[in-house]
């Protein structure tokens, strides 16, 4: 009879292929299975762990599906009012300039209700990092239209698809803030494939490293899926994202070392 593999065999150190970072708590994620938020949390927390920054990091959670980010991120955190995270982060960083400070925000939070706070924090060149999860929809409240919802895209408040004449255009806030002299590093990434995750994680690290230079705001957009809001399976939603979101929100660096990247 062939040897059966026991649990004791599996957990042997030589069989270890992946270990969750201690900077994520053991709390079960509140995100829908298949949602990109979980992966985004993981790469940010892994990076802070690898850089040994836990004891000097303060994170700001938004209002949106990631409102409970402080339950999952094992660091000191503040929970902000909807859209106001950059205002909180501004004060935290100005009052404690030696700390590592970041906000984690959805597209409704950052590009609708918090547009003023976002633009002015970027324009003042505040030395913190914004992680911006753009899923083109309001996930938390049940899939309403976001400022980033694509033309023709259906949501619970654009049930026949976004009509540009009636509802205005999807907002490329990342391109907009890249124009501002206060931003130092602006990039757009995704976390839907292992290759994309590796790239996105590099961008996360770069943003945090560049924060330390005190040369301005660093900004990582992660175009992500909302399979629940989009009413698709996780796999379908990732295909849909590549086909529809990526052409409008193209991947890659937009601003490097304070200079716009020429395309």
């Amino acid at each position: 009879m062939a040897d059966t593999i026991t649990k004791a065999d599996i957990i042997k150190p030589e069989n270890l292929v992946y270990k969750k970072t201690d900077l994520l708590t053991d709390k079960v994620l509140s995100y829908c299975p298949g949602c990109g938020h979980g992966t985004a949390h993981r790469i940010i927390m892994e990076t802070l762990d690898e850089m040994s920054l836990q004891s000097e990091t303060i994170g700001i959670a938004p209002v949106g599906c990631s409102v409970l980010a402080y339950e999952f991120m094992n660091i000191d955190m503040q929970q902000a009012a909807h859209g106001r995270a950059p205002a909180l982060a501004t004060a935290v960083k100005r009052l404690m300039p030696e700390k590592t400070v970041f906000t984690y925000q959805g597209d409704g939070d950052l590009a609708a209700i918090g547009t003023a706070e976002t633009i002015h924090a970027c324009n003042r060149g505040e030395n913190f990092t914004i992680f911006f999860i753009n899923n083109g929809i309001y996930g938390m409240t049940g899939g309403q239209m976001a400022p980033t919802t694509l033309e023709g895209m259906k949501s619970s408040t654009s049930p026949y698809g976004r009509d540009l004449e009636m509802m205005g255009h999807p907002l490329k806030i990342t391109e907009l803030i890249a124009q501002l002299p206060g931003t130092y590093y602006v990039t757009r990434q995704a976390v839907h494939t292992p290759a994309a995750v590796r790239k996105a994680k590099k961008a996360v690290r770069k943003a945090i490293e560049m924060q330390k230079l005190n040369k301005g705001l660093t900004f990582v957009e992660i175009v992500s899926n909302c399979n629940s809001g989009w009413k698709m399976t996780p796999v379908q939603s990732n295909h849909w994202m590549v086909e529809n979101m990526f052409p409008f929100y193209p991947m890659g660096d937009i601003k490097l070392e304070g200079e716009l990247v020429k395309k």
Binding site: S55, T57, Q79, A81, R84, L88, A91, V92, L95, A116
Partner: protein
Amino acid sequence: MKKELRLMKGNEAFAEAAIRVGVDGYFGYPITPQSEVMEYLTAEKPHERTGMVVLQAESEVAAINMLYGGASCGKKVMTSSSSPGVSLMQEGISYMAGAELPCVLLNVVRGGPGLGTIQPAQSDYFQSTKGGGHGDYRLIVIAPSSVQEMYDFVELGFKLAFKYRTPIMVQSDGAIGQMMEKVEIDEQQKRFSEAEIIKNYPWATTGKTPDRERNIITSLDLDPARHEKHNIELQKKYRKIEEKEIQYEKVQCDDAEYLFVAYGTSARLCLKSIQLCREKGIKVGLLRPITLWPFPKDIIYDMADQVKGILSVEMSAGQMVEDILLSVKGKVPVEHFGRMGGIIPSPIEIADMLEEKFIKG
């Protein structure tokens, strides 16, 4: 120790006090009649004097949320504004009350509603003492009636704010903010170091070190049972504040047959009205609430046994008078007198009104 004396505007005294008590951060947005606070602070270069951060925010919404961020780190943070700006801050104030964050807010009240006027008023009493933002919370509200008190209440404000981990409002008005008087200035106090903050405020988000659990500042709890418990704790705190922190001043109350109740600019006017009344043989006193919340209801209840009538004087349509009525519990007649729209009543008007309401009638 001999103190330094200076002639200052109320708004400037408030700003100087901020530097002197070791405030870490001021975040604000210009609005008349309080813009001198930030103007004074930027001119004084407090970053050189004490390391204090002064930042002009993009709006009052951003300013109050900067306070939320700074207070979460255990820092002494403050803002100042006037009525329309304070309305914009209500969201953040509610969040700070919910998350139990200390800060000092100054409202140099002007006439409303809407854009109203830039002239003095006292018509934000309801907003500051009854809520303003959403949810069951209270603000400690202290009302200065002199430039000296504009100075002194910064320190008092931070003492109360940190003692109870709650936002406090210094409720002034355009007259107190703009007028000049002599002020006694205290010695410079040191700002807290990070080590002192960590020791004094173990809840502050200063970075999770291996020796403690992570600190989380939030006003959210999706579990109703836990959230009710949090609310019950908040209410207990408010009851304790009501028990311990009421402050008021009594002027010529010993032989008074009538009583003015007034705060801020109105209280100053009433001092002159008392003199005018007493010249005519009408014995009037003044009870000046210093804390508008918690409201000095017991002393007013007691005074109601002594006097024949109480006149609430407030530059509003009659807001504080509701709290007086609740305090007096029907024992004596209570009336309101006030002017609106930025008009300051004259002491003669106030004295005449007392006669008209209680004596001639």
